[in-house]
Symmetry: C2
Subunit: 366 residues, 2 copies
Amino acid sequence: MVLFSAAQSTKKVVNVALIGPGGVGSSVLEQLSKLDQFKLISISNSKGTYINAAGIPFESAKSELSKASTKCLEKEVIPELAKHQPCIFIDNTSSEAVANLYPLALSHGVHVVTPNKVGFSASLSLFNHIRDASAASGALAYKESTVGAGLPVISTLETLLKTGDKVNKIEGVLSGTMSYLFNTFSKAGKNDEILFSKLVSDARDQGYTEPHPGSDLSGSDVARKLAILSRLIPGLENALTEGVNSVDVQSLIPAGLDGDITPEQFLSGLKDHDAHYEKLRKTASDNDSVLRYVGVIDVATGKIKCGLETYPSSHPLASLTGSDNIFLFHTERYGARPLIVQGAGAGSAVTAMGVVGDCITIAERV
Amino acid sequence: MVLFSAAQSTKKVVNVALIGPGGVGSSVLEQLSKLDQFKLISISNSKGTYINAAGIPFESAKSELSKASTKCLEKEVIPELAKHQPCIFIDNTSSEAVANLYPLALSHGVHVVTPNKVGFSASLSLFNHIRDASAASGALAYKESTVGAGLPVISTLETLLKTGDKVNKIEGVLSGTMSYLFNTFSKAGKNDEILFSKLVSDARDQGYTEPHPGSDLSGSDVARKLAILSRLIPGLENALTEGVNSVDVQSLIPAGLDGDITPEQFLSGLKDHDAHYEKLRKTASDNDSVLRYVGVIDVATGKIKCGLETYPSSHPLASLTGSDNIFLFHTERYGARPLIVQGAGAGSAVTAMGVVGDCITIAERV
């Protein structure tokens, strides 16, 4: 990135509209408040929107929401934002309804920055609408934090591709929860007693999983990230017609536990599968290997999949600890040893960092 | 980075002037030739410059150098480039004389992109001149490939800092040669016979070191990279008055071998130190540890140093293989587990990728 930017006095003020002031949204507000280049002109939650083109203090933005009134994002908010350009629409929700508005925002010249995976991992149709609206108006859509939170994953992939490298394969551990579960499970000694169901239950108690651990074990979060990455790769742009639903996913939700059951019922039922996981663990361990839930994009074969795999202990994926994400970019230029990015792939502050980093990049471009 | 850029037809053409068409320079030309946004208008080697504002084909640029004539970069070339903006001055040399011209280029509104470490790791005075010239004119200076070649090192550090993270420590293996030497040395089994001097000699034969291995073993390449990184960190901008010469460097050139001697004399003299290195290796190995030549920037203490250190085998630095670089960013947000970037940190194609990536970023900004 840039070493020195132009003198501060010449910096153009960029307006921002934030939707979804939850954990990540609050961190975004906090990080933006430290920068002098951004002016918050709109804040929305599920109940309504408060717009003030004169500027809303970042520090008190959430309390200003008391002044919010019901406004139609499509017909009232976005057209209003379009009058205050340059403007960035920051979507911190995980809502499909909001993602469906990106084409409208972009066609109004409003830039989009989001950690919301839906818009880029759902149907190819929505994805193409976003792309076309951006191309037509020149408004930008950035989404670094949809994959690996603040880690430089999408930017690295795009630099590789834009400079003409050929990406052969991307593989990695793309879920903090899956990372934690199998790093811990496989780290246990050969003779240790470790029950997979208890590990999942403990992880849930410690906040490592969603309230319903099935959400994590389904693998759909990993599949969404694979969809986002694969659509950046020449030849794979149109591979996943149904986005996340077109990815070849190995769900770790056992048959019979995939219905509408409570987390407690789920964890109880998972106990029946402890022997299965213990066998996998022992077999891997006997071969000086570990279990990892990995996502793989194999460009040559067009295979985009995620599932439980075994890696020898000398493999970079085996050295993973904690709940870190890891991404291995196997490319023509990097040859036998991939470019690797590793670190926390979840958490409010690091996700917000990805969002704010994108906002800064847009501010540098407009 | 950006998902979709504006339609190609709206892309502004950016002129480039390349100086130093060697290994990296040739790769830069090759990578730029695949992009439709750049026009080569000047090419220089140590003998002269050929300027053609109508455009020089990238493919035949090096042969066009036959038309080059002696031109003063300062008085003839840069003022001419300034007439053809936007223009990027790409310095692929390792020349201090060329680095000294960055302030002039920037003050003429000509952007600078370079893998040349000198301008950013020499005296604070030159560094400040570059910064001030950039701030005054708004012209940009990018240098991603000065550290870790194409790896996203500087961009990652800048995103962390710009978004308000607090960097506590950066540590890593910043030299491909040092990486190869100690990865190989420490990997050898406890009872294996491995002589450090023979390892260095073999590495030289295989092209892993400079023609004179002392250049690598001095640690100065690592120190230069530490100078570049540290100057980006608040509080350390002015820490190194003499740049690379202010870094606390442990040179691995033994006393008595630091004079003006041939590579052969150097390698022969190094044999007297095999027992010393073998002892270090055995001691580390006995403690389930490995040797690594690391660079460290400790922000709290202001300590910026490089030298040979011992790391337990479970440490991320211990898992390094081949000649990879690795960078660990310990920050407030990332907490106990650092953000890690790893991969090849040298080579023409990946260094050129860093250069071309910077050119693309500038093209997106102008």
